[in-house]
């Protein structure tokens, strides 16, 4: 009789432990999904801002057609990949970032453009969007790390294996220049 109680007790304790760990994993995974949505919002915002920017600077920068086209091309490419995984998106968005920072660096040479109120407002929006992409990437990568640690560490790794929790993918920027300075700097 005692043995039966002991077995029931052990099963109950195991069940509770499993549930607690499982819920913890689900919480972490939701955190990863939420922070991914944050990046997504900012990337979309940047895609929306770029046509306005190109429109605003086109009249001033007649001799920079190549730079402008590179930005538009990178943006269109990035927009095609919006449903891809974090790794692929990080790559195309990284290219867009560097094309954009080239354009904004060139814009420094056009005093007329720098006096344009519309351009200045766009510039602040774009700087801030770049920053927000950077910060949401930080937060996303931090939450992926926390989630992955939990799926790989004992004893939660057992639960993660049984319930098929897959490791999260980091949002790593692969373009060297982007990694060096994640922000577009101008003022």
């Amino acid at each position: 009789m005692v043995a039966v109680y002991v077995i029931i007790g052990v099963v109950v304790v195991l069940g509770i432990t499993f549930a607690v760990i499982y819920n913890g994993l689900v919480g972490r995974r939701n955190e990863v999904r939420n922070s991914w949505a944050q990046i997504d919002v900012q990337l979309k915002r940047r895609h929306d801002l770029i046509p306005n920017l190109v429109e605003a600077v086109k009249g001033y920068m007649k001799h920079e057609r190549g730079t402008l086209e590179a930005v538009t091309r990178a943006r269109n490419l990035a927009q095609q990949e919006t449903s891809s995984g974090a790794g692929k998106r990080a790559q195309v968005e990284g290219e867009l970032s560097s094309a954009l920072s080239r354009l904004l660096a060139v814009a420094e040479n056009y005093p007329d453009l720098k006096a344009n109120q519309n351009f200045l407002a766009l510039q602040e929006e774009l700087t801030s969007t770049e920053n927000k992409i950077g910060f949401s990437r930080q937060y996303y990568n931090d939450s992926v790390l926390r989630y992955n640690n939990q799926t790989q560490m004992f004893p939660s790794s057992i639960v993660a294996g049984m319930a098929h929790f897959q490791a999260g993918e980091f949002f790593e920027v692969s373009v060297a220049a982007e990694r060096e300075a994640p922000k577009v700097s101008f003022s």
Partner: protein, 401 residues
Amino acid sequence: MWEQIHSNQRRSAILVIGMGLLLLVLGYVLGLYFMGSTTGGMIIALAVWGIMSLVALFQGDNILLALSRAKKIERDDLPQLYNVVEEMKIAAGLEYMPDIYIIDDPAPNAFATGRNPRKAAVAVTSGLLQILNRDELQGVIGHEISHIKHRDVQLMVISGVLLGTIVLLSWAATRYLFFGALMGGGNRRSSASGGGGYIQIIVLAVGIILMILAPLMAQLLYFAVSRKREYLADASSALYTRYPEGLASALEKLAASKNQLKSANKATAPMFIINPLHKKGMSASNLTSTHPPLAERIRILRSMAGGASLSDYDGAYRQAHGGGKGVMPTSGLAAAPVSLRSATGEKEDNKLDRARQVSDVLWRINRYRTTTCDCGTRLRVPQNFADERIKCPHCGRVTKI
């Protein structure tokens, strides 16, 4: 992070309950003295306690903002400030965007408040916006966002309102008692019982004790927002921005300021990023009782050479204190290494532009209308200005508003 939140919740509960007990004692004594019945006094005390707690829980943040004369601004008023707050909100992983307030005061300072993460606010003074560049502003906002993230603000609001009221109550009670005693008071019940004089002395003694306790209450507030929280907020700001130098250089500028914040008082002082109650003409870095010494906070931030994680801050803190125990909660120390970033570098010093932008917003939120005269002079007209036209003091032309 969670241990910090739990500790804050525990402290809030202790404060509310402790306040209830204290008020009960107060009600007992005052009831005995004024009404001749202890129950009546205790019922009134309970009612006061209930109302105070409800106010603190549901309106505390608004009261503190109103006390500081903070005015709410929208995104379009100051896009850069809004953007910086949103950036830090994202970096901290906050779910809701805090409201933004500005205080029209040349003394540079900032605070955060709020009753929960859903309803929080960040307030900065116009002086702060004028002297800080974007990186420094980001550091300060990161510090405030950390107070919201770790729910320090909730404890601050509750303790601020509760302790503020009790300090006020005991002050009023002791004044009443003193005057009563001086004028041979206590007539109301002196004939009712022979022991009236004896009770009166006890009540007076209690009143005096409460009066002595009142400043201690204020001190309690300072314990509630212990230095540890300030250190944690600094460390989190470095973690969010990946750039400790921004906050360090901002603190340096704040420390050098000699302006005193007009709307700050003892109950609201611990909320601010630096102590607003330094003596006029003295720099803020001299006063260290409620906040950790600024020089030390700056030194710790500057010696974070290896990275921006909480354990890097902990290492820098231990170094500044010659070894010993760190200040960070242990759960924060296990995280992966975090690399620093470089400065964004605003190319020209656009202090003038910032000053102009901030003053424009202040005029607008004070409901002044702005018209530009043909000669280029900007005319600010108060809302209650009755005339349709105004004469430009610069060129003499008459402009329609």
